[in-house]
Symmetry: C2
Subunit: 350 residues, 2 copies
């Protein structure tokens, strides 16, 4: 081993879902929105002055921060914007999780949590969800260095009632509690209404799912101004200019278009409810979903088998080869037409 190799940070990186390059694929594997971005964002893109690309973007992301603050009726000093919610949560880990006590998160959850903890050398404990994949609030009462969980949870799609979310926050007033709400717009109730009552609460959301802009990389955190300032201080210590000019302009236009947003999420919710019925008839079981995906297991066929068979038919879903969930498929909700193609393929396979 060469000397310089000894000081390389060794990590087990997160493996993202496949991004197939072949055309005519039905892509239900990374929880993207099947509908295009808001026409308001498209209009902003078409009017964008490309000459300005020679200039640095606004390091304070003022226009996008302002648009998000207006939408959620909070102060601009309560909003932090990052390069997707992964960037936001990673920055929040670095900023707030500096205790010797372990950070707590569910064992079946977004698998990036343990990866961030590893890369930043943060002690953590993965708390088992129960046999029905439910996050048990009282499991989070023990002393810890911070708490994070998604609501709805991923990949289970299970939603936790706001009173139970509040119970976890209230039992952890001495640490920061992060609620990762990437999927909240598909039927859940956001913890944002608790922000003013709990100064230790950070709510994280994203433009990648409900706002059809995964390709732009925009995520945000909302919390009390002190938390947001601490995150900005760390952000300005790493990279002052993270959000590029197009993201600021298109993102602000998108968030202002409430009507389109509500229409798209309503369509996805309707397709999801219809999909639940079809999957049941096909012999699948699943926790009830309030997200834009369903986490389903077939009564007889193996998850890995269905996954491979679907892939042969150019339909991509997500399969996790991990303990407790290795018989499950995570199926993103597409358009009605895409879901019908999926159901036809499943009938063929099963």
């Amino acid at each position: 081993m060469r000397e310089w190799e000894k000081n390389i940070r060794r990590v087990e990186p997160y493996v993202p879902g496949e991004q197939p390059k072949i055309a005519n694929v039905i892509k239900l594997n990374t929880n993207e929105n099947p509908y295009p971005p808001s026409p308001a964002a498209v209009k902003a893109a078409n009017e964008f002055d490309l000459d300005t690309l020679r200039l640095y973007p606004d390091p304070c992301v003022t226009d996008l921060v302002g648009a998000i603050a207006d939408y959620y009726k909070v102060g601009s000093n309560q909003v932090f914007v990052g390069v997707g919610s992964d960037d936001v949560i990673s920055m929040a880990f670095l900023t707030f999780f500096n205790s010797d006590k372990p950070v707590l998160f569910p064992d079946i959850s977004y698998s990036f949590y343990s990866v961030w903890a590893d890369v930043y050398r943060i002690p953590y404990k993965a708390v088992p969800v129960d046999e029905n994949f439910i996050i048990v609030s009282s499991d989070y009462y023990e002393p810890n260095g911070g708490v994070i969980f998604p609501n709805p949870n991923a990949p289970t799609a299970l939603y936790k009632e706001l009173s139970e979310v509040e119970d976890i926050i209230a039992h952890n007033r001495d640490v920061i509690v992060m609620v990762d709400e990437a999927y909240i717009d598909f039927g859940g109730k956001s913890a944002l209404e608790l922000i003013d009552r709990y100064d230790n609460l950070l709510v994280i959301q994203t433009f990648s799912k409900s706002r059809s802009m995964a390709g732009m990389r925009i995520g945000y955190a909302i919390g009390n101004p002190e938390l947001i300032k601490a995150m900005n201080d760390v952000k300005f210590s790493i990279n002052s200019y993270t959000i590029n000019r197009p993201s600021i302009v298109y993102g602000a236009a998108a968030v202002n278009d409430k009507q389109y947003f509500e229409e798209c999420t309503a369509k996805i919710i309707a397709t999801r409810e219809r999909s639940k019925e079809r999957l049941k008839k096909l012999g699948f079981e699943f926790p009830d979903s309030k997200a834009n995906f369903i986490f389903a297991k077939h009564k007889e066929a193996k998850g890995a088998y269905i996954f491979e068979e679907l892939k042969k038919r150019n339909i991509y879903v997500r399969y996790f080869n991990k303990p407790r969930i290795d018989d499950y498929l995570r199926i993103s909700i597409g358009t009605d037409e895409q879901m019908d193609a999926l159901f036809a393929a499943l009938e063929d396979i099963l």
Copy 2:
């Protein structure tokens, strides 16, 4: 103090140059390119399919990595792309600077180096440049945890001959040596030609200066495949999808347009050489610049005074209120017209 405050990471963040929002400003303060992005990038932008923004970008940034690799005649596995060179260098610090020995960099240099070291808790030593602002190679022979310096240096604009750069790399084979070449395209010779001979060398460049795309946030590192793999592993542990779809597409188009790139850099170099003559006549002294800026001190007038007077006239340059350099101004090279406006203002002030 509330309990959760104790675990917040406290940092002294980098303060970026002002991004004035008023129109009709002559902006010579952040070393941006005065010319617009390549027409090839503009064409790619106009043809961009906005519907695809609903999908995640390619996490491997294949097309942009490939275009950069082709341009520099290296392998795709030798190129790492990040959100501006700040993101690239920050990721390189996290990946490679994990020794107990201090990382070395010049005391008068890009001020982010100490900020990154602080935020990641990396020990470091700022090595004084000599009285002419020269980086003395033999100062970097002592045991260390890694080395980084810009070439040309910022904010001095001083270029170090490649043989001297190689001397530092050769004396530090047991650690990673990073050469930060944000300004190399304005007349210097890149260390890229040393990549195959030194497996401990990482060269970092950016689209923000010579490629007129500061607003897109694209930087890259080139090195041996093992270094690039280690950086990608860390990157995939933080955020799989950092480079958004427009950046990948516009960036690849820009790097392919060699002719426009060479025309713009030649114009900037010509304007710089002309500006040196004018500044000398106006009573300024400065280290010889091979960058797109000049680091100048007036023989009589104070830097802070000139800075404020220029600002009153809507001309922004950069002033650092720091020991050893508090009489200097860093003046970005604009168009000939912008520089003439600057010289007229300076005549008026002095």
